[in-house]
Symmetry: C2
Subunit: 338 residues, 2 copies
Amino acid sequence: MSELRLDPTTREWVVISTERARRPHDFAQASIHPLPQEFYSTCPFCPGNEAQTPGLSASYSDPESGKWRVRVVPNKFPAVRPEGSTRRKEEHPLALSLDGVGIHEVVVESPLHNRLLGFMSDDEVFDVVRAYRDRLVTLSAMPSVRQVTVFKNHGASAGTSLEHPHSQIVATPVVPWHVRHQYDVATQYFDERGRNLYSDLLAFEAEQEVRVVCATPRFLVIHPYASRRPFETWVLPRSARASLGDLDDDELREFGTVMRDTLRCIFTGLNNPDYNQVLYTAPAGDECEPYYSWHLRVYPRLTAVAGFEIGSGIHINTSLPEQTAAFMREIASSCCGQ
Amino acid sequence: MSELRLDPTTREWVVISTERARRPHDFAQASIHPLPQEFYSTCPFCPGNEAQTPGLSASYSDPESGKWRVRVVPNKFPAVRPEGSTRRKEEHPLALSLDGVGIHEVVVESPLHNRLLGFMSDDEVFDVVRAYRDRLVTLSAMPSVRQVTVFKNHGASAGTSLEHPHSQIVATPVVPWHVRHQYDVATQYFDERGRNLYSDLLAFEAEQEVRVVCATPRFLVIHPYASRRPFETWVLPRSARASLGDLDDDELREFGTVMRDTLRCIFTGLNNPDYNQVLYTAPAGDECEPYYSWHLRVYPRLTAVAGFEIGSGIHINTSLPEQTAAFMREIASSCCGQ
């Protein structure tokens, strides 16, 4: 059973995951060696090895062949587990904890071991974002769940331990502090201005143009004004809604295509860098509020987060978003067929 | 001129450092190859190459030989610079910025290219923490400075770009958001309980014992209850004071020795891992308030911070602080001569 513990100096939750526990001796650095074969006999996410994954949460199939195109499975080494209670245990005022109760799933994005999101067809990537949306809706409705985080780690430095393309979904029994904070900032902005912060941000960036990478009928892709990292990329929906869960299939299909194009540009322009991507969405229960807007952020891992960032929370970005956006706009014009 | 920009979605400052700007093409991953020689003819921090560093902010010498033991020099590629104004520029309500005004210094910890902090003599490490204290006091008194962050990156994955042992000091014109938040939590605790949060935390950990690595007359070294990372280590002073700047030489000498022993244990127990260390201290101007306590945190880089951590702010720690502290206590008993 893993456990959530509260840091009394910041009021931030930490997952102490004994399920994944390594002994103190086991902290040698691991690295991932990409192998040439397209199919792996030992990869648990490749076709033929479905029995190696512990259960099946959802599956999306090719309508013609009937074969699966996307599978959502429980994580074999989950950070949180369905069993347990959300009741807080206060061993001491400075030692508040609860069970690591929640859901940790893996979205296997393709049956192909080397099929990157950035190179999928419209139909393939639609199935991936459908899985995101459907699981988000299902998990958010569970009584113990307060937040669903959908994210992807690409490459060893971004924290991937498995090579086969996959995203992850973690449903936690607490609203993470970063999310709560973002949500509070947006709520306060709405209280003050009477408008959605993200709608105003989108209008501002669309008007300025210099940080826009790509624009589609429903989305704007930008390198934000205060980018923390070089080539940090946000995909903002023009229609602000608190949760991705509210998108219909048409909107979702366009989102999938924009995400795919964004990742292809990053692959092409930066030579397949490691990256993390995170889908930001409102806390469970706040989906109908007008304050927040769901969106996607992609963070290429081009520079190290070092002591200054860890200690201060201030990131030092060594590139100008206006320059990186112009560079990526050029890539987009050739590789995304705008 | 670098620039600070405010992220309107979190109200966090970001440094956009055009001084260090790389062009979009220049983001190939670099790695550091340690070389065998003890002295480097090209290393700007080795004796004989002092002219390669731009100026000298402070220097500490061996009283017998008269040779320098620690030098504090301006960073050649500073994230912030002395010139500029702290006046905010509001190009648009969603685009707030100010000049990247401040001080960025390097503490060259030893004339020896391969002299690690963990293996220094009491006198040598005293000079290092004296440099920390003295620069903290001097820089905090500057009118444009709101916060002084003293940190160290050890190893390539921790963000080091130079091999010669060094720490860094960044004085910023804004209180970083993490620091402000920590300070606010401590202030609220004081308001509610009438006691210093860090004193209570120290008393709690000392009583529980299980997470204590080492105890000295003036310090307690712990793996905190809600450790974000495996082997995250805090050095807490028994006497809570807002700033390291208030320590006298006796206290400072003991702090240097405890820091040295802590780093030696981490070197020995984890086979010289990359790590970051950060000295937490109150914002400039709040040094006399009773709310906060300065302390040191060391974060070995044993696991990757991935998409879930980036998106949620919740860290998944794959080890139990009680187990890692017991392991490190064992190391400490043999290598720190307790």
